[in-house]
Amino acid sequence: MALLEVNNLSTHIAISSGSVQAVDGVSFHLEAGETLGLVGESGCGKSMTGLSLMRLLPPGGQLVGGSSVKLSGRELVDLPESEMRKIRGNEIAMVFQDPMSSLDPTKTIGYQVSEPVMLHRGASKAEALDRAAEVLGLVGLPKPKERLGDYPHQLSGGLRQRVMIAMALACEPKVLIADEPTTALDVTIQAQILTLLNDLKDRLGMAMILVTHDMGVVAGHADRINVMYAGRIVESTKTDELFSDMRHPYTQGLLASIPRLAQDNTQKLFTVPGLPPDLSNPPTGCRFAARCSYAQDDCRTEDPGLKGPKEHTFACFHPVDGPLDLTSSTTVADRSAPAAKEKRPLLEVTDLVKEFPVGGNLFGRNKAVVHAVSGVSLSLGYGETFGLVGESGCGKTTLGRMIVGLEKPNAGQVTLDGAQVGSLRGKALRRHRRDLQMMFQDPHASLDPRMRVGSILREPLQIQGIGTAQEQLSLVTDLLGEVGLPKSALERFPHEFSGGQRQRIGLARALTLHPKVIVADEPVSALDVSIRAQVLNLMKRLQASHDLSYVVISHDLAVVKYLADRIGVMYLGKMVEVGSGEDIYQRAAHPYTAGLLEAIPVPEPELEREKRGGGIKGELPSPVAPPSGCRFRTRCPLAQERCAEEEPAMRLFGDGHVAACHFPLQTPVSDTPVTVATPAGEAV
């Protein structure tokens, strides 16, 4: 008998205009000591499945008759609420996504962790606090006894998620549901938390349901995987088999559209066209049919249902056989020699510094400074793409905003085509702005909700006084077509578009002024995987057809590596390494780069399993008081005394490959310090 047996679980949520079939006939089982991955894109019902198991539905949510959840043979669906409460937090516990909002801000962490112990074990306050200290130690909170009286706001995001985990584990539950436990965290912290969850699962002998959108996360940490699409499970099998021998076209498409680190970036990414269906009015038959290239008539009329042998079930009439052969995919326009046209760099950034004052009052006392960017230089050639990677707080976004002139640097210069941007004023500055445009991260915030798309796209032309109304309209219509949107979009408002469509509009807007450089700040990180690939392909295609240079900013190294010719790695306001995609991926010289690569989950189970326990330790130091010398030294496995005393200079490691480290992982070509980041093919 399985530990947890879920049969025909269906959850409907009543909304004003009907009801959403958020979870529809989901069945699976979970064995003791096993980790089950529940993956899918946003809105597929994976989180709702987790909440349904706990019977913690949002207002209007209801389990539909026929649903069954059995824990060690005991039916939970019809338990009275008072009995169900004894299960929650005791036998089934849950870890939620956002550690920032999941802890009560007015209660100490000791209290919050001890609360379930008092509740379920009838422990006294003192006993419960002892237990809390014990579990907090277990999850790796340093000096747990002393920190019992801390409040959540005193802890970093990573530590808060550890507290959340401690809270869930305090009563040693049989099943732990981890709902996107690391999505809100930086990649190095994510690796730490995932490793911790895995260790604890083994040590405590629990079973775990890992709910996530990230195929890389399940690849390394799940034993079996359920792939969900539009409220249903479409495929369920062992992790290795899913990645190497999937049968459902959705699984196949999903995996094929993820950019890989080892990918040839001249190739177009595979895309799954269209959008998931509206679950308040789902289509009959297979819900994926509308987006499936294998779909036939029977798919649209009949529900395929989960079939196949018990160890590998899938819901498809016309299953595929293993991963897509991507070698036949179209290549994007050949841009193998981007620097060939012009020798001199298009954009040069020299020693940029940005500091933000924090705190202090009207009289200017108690002023502290966040060192957001501390002397960063880079250069970008004509038609080249420069990628900037790093974790949150590394200064990459601030750097991007300084390049386009949204922030004024405290020191340093931005030079475009030989002209110093900082010295321009008035008309000259406005004229100059045409050459530097930006693409933003949040598709919901980057388009004015009060303007029609037509006005949004024409605004840059109006500001710059380019063309007559007629000419503007025709240019805008052209661009709309180029980014794959119909002309009718002109008359519509931003809220009528999906996230991916809005990013396309944002890109079209950036293109209206025929810029030389587009700074793209996390252009795809708010999008689902299948939509992400569409936008990445589009960016590549437009680069070729519009002679663009990009500065692409992202926390996702795979995205950056796919788009960029050269990559700069930033850490705490400093550039630590610059090189080609292959330099960074194959020959990383800086320990931080290597650690980052180690921490990034990739959708390859074997690689991921080998990596368990690797990655960077510790937390990001405060940018208000960055460490002396090398800023990475506090988390660096190779750090020595010298790293604290002396800031490492950039040294050359190969053609266009530089890094700032006293004890690099590669042997430098020469020991003389170099100026940062010359475009490829131009040795210093």
Partner: protein, 331 residues
């Protein structure tokens, strides 16, 4: 099981560019022309139905029964006060000393007041004053507050700090006392009261709009306009004000309710408009001492009118705020 398909790599439809080019040759359609009903399909997925942000707000607002009731009550009172006198004639110019404090009955369905004026007719006249002063004062307050708050929020730094300290100081002044002191001298007529009430109630909207501007100005679409070279003026008029409009309109609604209440208090204490003109507060003030004589009709009909109108504005304000919120959540 044995049936497998040859994987057909799906790539973006290459026709889309061509379609875009085709469309260019078509000259501008009339913007008011109806949208083609054909769903626009491209690789970017289907587009949903088209509705403007305002229409969405309106739809959400109409779902709120209380808000709709508020509109109905308000429309009723506006018609009652301004169109009522056309159909319901009563002597409101000369006192009728033979008919003072008359109980409801023939000729005077709701009785007469201490000057012998017909109560219904009196409520119409008083309502005109109360509604007009409330509305005008709220508009003045909102305009001042919006400008003040927008300037503070947008410019930030020392200007913001100074402007908001001034607001803090003025907020600590007791509104009613200050307004009473000033209206003792300059009140007594409609415009005097409008200006006094308007000029002293812009503080809350100023804070509100400042908060809104602070959150709007860091949004990406404002950054986008900056990157294009948009000037501050353009940012304010094209982006910040249109987006803060929802908040401003909600505020006006509540502000009207508050101004009507404040005016009622002034009138009640005998500092409203002067005889022979009247407002609802003044009517209540004149009548309150007569309550113990049993002349309830001089107090409660006008009292109920006042409460209903204020409640209507509050309902409308609540409904608008929720509707604007829903729209915010959807975008």
């Amino acid at each position: 099981m044995s049936e497998t398909n040859t994987p057909a790599v799906s790539t973006e439809t290459e026709t889309e560019t061509a379609r875009g080019v085709e469309d260019v040759s078509v000259t501008i359609e009339s913007p008011a022309g109806p949208e083609p009903a054909v769903p626009a399909v491209s690789d970017a997925g289907e587009l949903q139905s088209t509705t403007s942000a305002w229409k969405l707000t309106l739809r959400e607002f109409l779902k709120n029964k209380m808000a709709v009731a508020g509109v109905a009550i308000l429309v009723f009172f506006v018609l009652f006060c301004w169109l009522g006198p056309v159909f319901y004639h009563s002597n409101q110019n000369t006192t009728d000393l033979l008919n003072t404090d008359g109980a409801p009955g023939a000729g005077h369905p709701l009785g007469t007041d201490s000057n012998g004026f017909d109560i219904i007719g009196r409520i119409m006249i008083g309502g005109q004053t109360s509604l007009w002063i409330g509305f005008a004062a709220a508009v003045i307050a909102t305009v001042i507050g919006t400008l003040w708050g927008a300037v503070a929020g947008l410019l930030g730094g020392l200007i913001d700090a100074t402007l908001m300290r001034i607001v803090d100081i003025l907020l600590s002044l007791p509104f009613l006392l200050v307004v009473l002191i000033i209206s003792q001298r300059y009140g007594a007529n409609t415009w005097g009261l409008i200006i006094i009430l308007g000029v002293f109630s812009w503080l809350v909207p100023a804070r509100l709009i400042r908060g809104e501007v602070l959150s709007l100005k860091v949004r990406d679409f404002v950054s986008a306009a900056r990157v294009m070279g948009g000037t501050n003026t353009r940012l304010i008029f094209r982006h910040l004000i249109p987006n803060a409009m929802g908040t401003v309109i909600v505020n006006i609604t509540f502000q009207i309710a508050d101004a009507i209440l404040a005016l009622a208090a002034l009138g009640y204490l005998n500092f409203g408009v002067r005889y022979p003109n009247t407002d609802w507060g003044s009517q209540l003030g004149d009548a309150q001492s007569n309550l113990s004589n049993g002349y309830w009709w001089e107090v409660f009909p006008v009292g109920v009118s006042l409460v209903l109108v204020v409640m209507a504005f509050n309902f409308i304000g609540d409904g608008l705020r929720d509707a604007v919120d829903v729209r915010l959540r959807k975008r």
